[in-house]
């Protein structure tokens, strides 16, 4: 039930953002308010179960992301370390495109995260940062299989590959 309301309210905010400035009630017209409410209720009924799946064995629920403090941390992470790492990643790829020096391989990482959101966040961060690309996830243990473009160590720790991202993902999602 909680999942339904959260999804519906999220969809409603998204609708209002898209139709910003269409009328005079605050900033939206009456039609947009009504159709937005109806549509977001429908979306909540259909997608609520998908967006927040039931609690699994040994994994924590995704509903803990409702805490606004976590969103603030997420924003700080996005603007600070993430953007910097992304800039470095692109210069790295540029270097490899021009020189053609590669030493690829697939390694296994055990970040030890216990939420789905944390694992997703870490996997996406890894994909967008220097020389690494997530290929597969072991769903029971949360281990990641990462394609590394320049292998320095065949059995690395999670910190050796993605630096402070594990700490950030843990701070944000757990």
């Amino acid at each position: 039930m909680l999942a339904f309301f959260v999804t519906a309210i999220g969809a409603f905010f998204f609708y209002l953002l898209l139709t910003f400035g269409s009328g005079t009630i605050v900033a939206w017209s009456l039609e947009e308010w009504i159709s937005g409410a109806v549509l977001s209720l429908i979306v909540g009924a259909i997608a609520g179960r998908v967006a927040f799946n039931r609690k699994k064995e040994g994994r924590k629920s995704s509903l803990r992301m409702l805490n606004p403090l976590r969103w603030l941390l997420f924003l700080v992470y996005l603007i600070g370390p993430f953007l910097w790492a992304m800039a470095k990643a692109n210069l790295d790829v540029a270097y490899r495109v021009i020189t053609g020096k590669i030493r690829p391989g697939i390694v296994r990482l055990s970040p030890g995260l216990s939420t789905d959101f944390g694992t997703t966040l870490l996997a996406n961060s890894i994909t967008l940062t220097p020389g690494t690309l997530t290929v597969d996830v072991d769903e029971e243990s949360g281990d990641l299989f990462v394609h590394w473009i320049n292998v320095r160590d065949t059995d690395p720790s999670a910190e050796a590959v993605c630096g402070s991202f594990v700490d950030w993902a843990r701070r944000i999602a757990e």
């Binding site: 910003f20 495109v97 590669i102 030493r103 690829p104 697939i106 390694v107």
Partner: protein, 111 residues
């Protein structure tokens, strides 16, 4: 202000171009994904930032709406691009494409 716009759009074009060249130059699916995903995401981020700055700098209701919609498009792009690249990498691995010249392959032991 216009110099900032030129810089943002220039960085966008540069990195999108690098992504396109990486697509042609690298030897196998995984390395191509590296180049394509990172560079096009970064390039599109800066192009979109350029348009957002343009929208807010012009002012007026229409241009503010333009900037807000570009922000939504940017979020959609940032979320979907790496996720899509996982899907492709995993599918490529499961359909039997091995990384070319790999020094280590931990996935092979598991499956």
């Amino acid at each position: 202000m216009s110099i900032l716009l030129y810089v943002l759009l220039g960085i966008g074009v540069l990195f999108n171009g690098l992504g396109a060249i990486a697509l042609v130059r690298f030897p196998d699916v995984y390395t191509r994904l590296h180049g394509a995903t990172k560079c096009t995401t970064f390039g599109s981020l800066f192009t979109a930032l350029g348009v957002i700055v343009y929208g807010f700098a012009r002012g007026g209701a229409q241009y503010n709406t333009l900037a807000i919609h570009v922000i939504i498009a940017l979020i959609a792009l940032l979320v979907t691009n790496p996720t899509g690249s996982h899907a492709i990498a995993r599918a490529a691995y499961r359909s039997g494409v091995k990384p070319k010249g790999a020094v280590v392959d931990k996935l092979e032991d598991r499956s």
